[in-house]
Symmetry: C3
Subunit: 322 residues, 3 copies
């Protein structure tokens, strides 16, 4: 997706104008802000942690917000813009490009669906749809649900009642149960006395084919970049997925599990009820995480973990015996 269909973008702005305080005086135009792996030559990207230096090496961006320490990991095509607090500066820049993406203003284009436009969709009562939505054949939308502008839903999906979908792209054969709130902005802001500075959330939620999401789940959209659930992954009720979390294919996520921001979960992962996954972690493929566990570090492929903090199962059982 090279173009953001969900938000109006301002700009382009010259580098000099964006970073007035840094006195860069450069006239090169920046068109958009994107993650390292998504950025094009005309975009600004950012590198705030060593976790992402592999992605940095191949970025196509011409400019990158980063620190003195991290700038060495950028390729030659990418010029560093050195700042002390990458996320704070990124937040300010993103707010220039996307001034409307920091608060979820309810969609003012919502209307009852026109039958002519959605002739092969089955709607319950009192459904509201925003402008430019696309909904596939044989998809059902339950009563009192709200589909905000530009959302795409594939074929043969079952969307329950009292659901809110915004800033989302949904595959085929997806099931979303009642009461889910999907695509809302995440919990991202720069804490400031009197008035926190909200981080714009210009990313989407992508649910791939055959995904199922249980009742009353919340799945926040990405801030920059997307929140993603892979094919045939099932979520139970009351799961919370924060912004930019990516879950692979064929995973089973039990009830009330919580994911903090930006964690990456592999394929064939099963997570027991009420487990919590901290932010910015990498959970491998074929991992099993016991119910109630608190995961605070990366987990390699094929590992079974349990506990708070979660450790390999054998270690957990050994500790229990002490």
């Amino acid at each position: 997706m090279s173009k953001n269909v969900f938000f109006k973008r301002k700009g382009p702005f010259s580098v000099g104008k964006i970073f007035k305080e840094l006195k860069l005086y450069q006239k090169t135009k920046i068109f958009d802000i994107k993650a390292l792996e998504d950025a094009e030559i005309s975009d600004l990207t950012f590198l705030e942690s060593v976790n992402y230096i592999n992605l940095a090496k191949t970025t196509k961006a011409t400019y990158c917000l980063t620190t003195e320490k991290l700038k060495t990991f950028l390729p030659n095509n990418c010029r560093p813009i050195i700042v002390k607090n990458v996320l704070f500066e990124l937040c300010k820049v993103a707010r220039q490009f996307y001034p409307d993406a920091d608060i979820d203003t309810p969609d003012s284009s919502l209307k009852k669906p026109e039958k002519s436009k959605y002739s092969r969709v089955k709607f319950g009562n009192n459904v509201f749809i925003g402008r430019n939505c696309k909904i596939g054949n044989n998809t059902i939308i339950g009563s009192n649900s709200i589909i905000e502008h530009n959302v795409k839903i594939g074929n043969n999906c079952t969307i329950g009642s009292q659901v809110v979908l915004k800033n989302s792209i949904i595959g085929n054969n997806v099931v979303i149960q009642d009461g889910c709130k999907i695509g809302l902005k995440g919990f991202g802001f720069i804490p400031m006395k009197e008035k926190n500075l909200r981080f714009p959330h210009i990313g989407n939620v992508l649910l791939n084919d055959h995904v199922e999401v249980g009742a009353n789940c919340t799945i926040d959209r990405g801030s920059i970049g997307n929140t993603v659930i892979g094919k045939n992954t099932f979520l139970d009720n009351q799961v919370h997925m924060a912004h930019n979390v990516k879950i692979g294919n064929n995973c089973m996520i039990a009830g009330q599990v919580g994911f903090a921001g930006s964690s990456l979960i592999g394929d064939n992962v099963s997570i027991g009820g009420q487990a919590g996954i901290s932010g910015h972690l990498k959970i491998g493929n074929n991992v099993k995480i016991g119910g109630g566990s608190g995961v605070v570090k990366d987990i390699p492929d094929g590992t079974v973990v349990m506990g708070y903090p979660a450790v390999p199962l054998k270690e957990f059982l050994r500790n229990q015996k002490k």
Copy 2:
């Protein structure tokens, strides 16, 4: 309830036809699939674990899906059908009888309630009711709530706003607060690459007299058999009850507690906030479970437990001192 009013049942089918691959060639007709304790002479039942051998001894079913090992626990009137994976085979059979019970298709019979039919019920704004519902006198249903077909609600109940009730039978004087989703299908499926095989959920949710359910709770209906809350049991907000959980009378379940599938909770049990109860456990009467505990094994009557995993309180306190 000998008849399932919520789902259309196919069949009857002959044993031979149901289990073509097993080459049983038997012409006896099977009319329904039921749990060991509920099955009649014309039904198929199943025994997948030693936990249920007591129930097996008195089952009235003529046929039982089970394993080579477990077949010895069946009474003489009940003929075993031996398979390797009981739940997988059960899932396939249940899908033959109930092809529509594996996904919660929103009820297409929903309408605004006819005043003549529900003259002694008070409705808020924009309430939708399915066909064949029964709602008792002096019951109140809050705005934007949805009561799907065949649901029964007793007298003097207070159902909040933005509630979804389906496949449920509700007693008298029951309180359900805003945002609850009750009677949806549970998180049951056979994991399969590319496309999981969903387990049909043909059971109900039964809420007995004087039950209270807090805001934004989710209570899934049973797969085969019911999910039940006993008299005068109160649930706080954001509690999750998975399929087939049964809670006794006079229990207090604090906020954000989660129950995995099929656990049985006794009477007078109190459970502190955010505690989790694993699946298929038996929690006795007069048990107290501390907030945040993770219960992973059965708890005998009268025990006070705490911790993750939960242990008797004395043991927990002793471990803390180490």
Copy 3:
């Protein structure tokens, strides 16, 4: 707030009539029931725990429900009414004054908003508003949301879709995301066989300026006294705040955190995802509580804690190494 705008109050009643069984024979009229710090000369208050003896010293109430042991902490102007179980007696008295505050009967005054009355408010589709609400300029209310009678909302607020607001007073620039249920009665009752005795909830929810509440949160109103969130405090999704919890200014509360009743949280507190705070605790200013922690005792200012039960971080890390 000297007058309760949300509930009709009965009375005044004479002390003798209220406590018939105690045979006090006093004719002094009691006009209302209030917390120690809120009570006026004509009110009844209550002191049930040594935690509140500092508040007791300066109460203006003429009468106080308390125990033989605690009566010595009352000032001269306040006459003790000695009982065995303060909360049980308080519950009975409160039910005399406020017979309608123990169950959340959906508001029967809800209507579509009149444009003339709310000319500077933007409403989504199918919003319902009760009588006597006040909503500030430039505030937006999302579709299918319900604002019950007497609720006040300030200027420039963004209320999402499918929200319920009752018994609440909301400041300026407040953001409430989709699916929140705010101001409902809490989980307070005297457990009794057959039929629990519900505690009236006559308090409110107060959200101060610049507060943000994530999706599908539940914030219960106070029983006697209020539930409060201070300025510029942000809550992530699926947080549960029980009755009478008070959170200070500039706090960050991550996803799925739960607060049991009556805890007091200071300013600049950050709480990680899924942490739980037990009831009646005092958490100081500038405290950091790690994700998944279970807090069971008071925490002094400036402390970093983690674990279940939560202990200072150094102690937690030391225990991990054993």
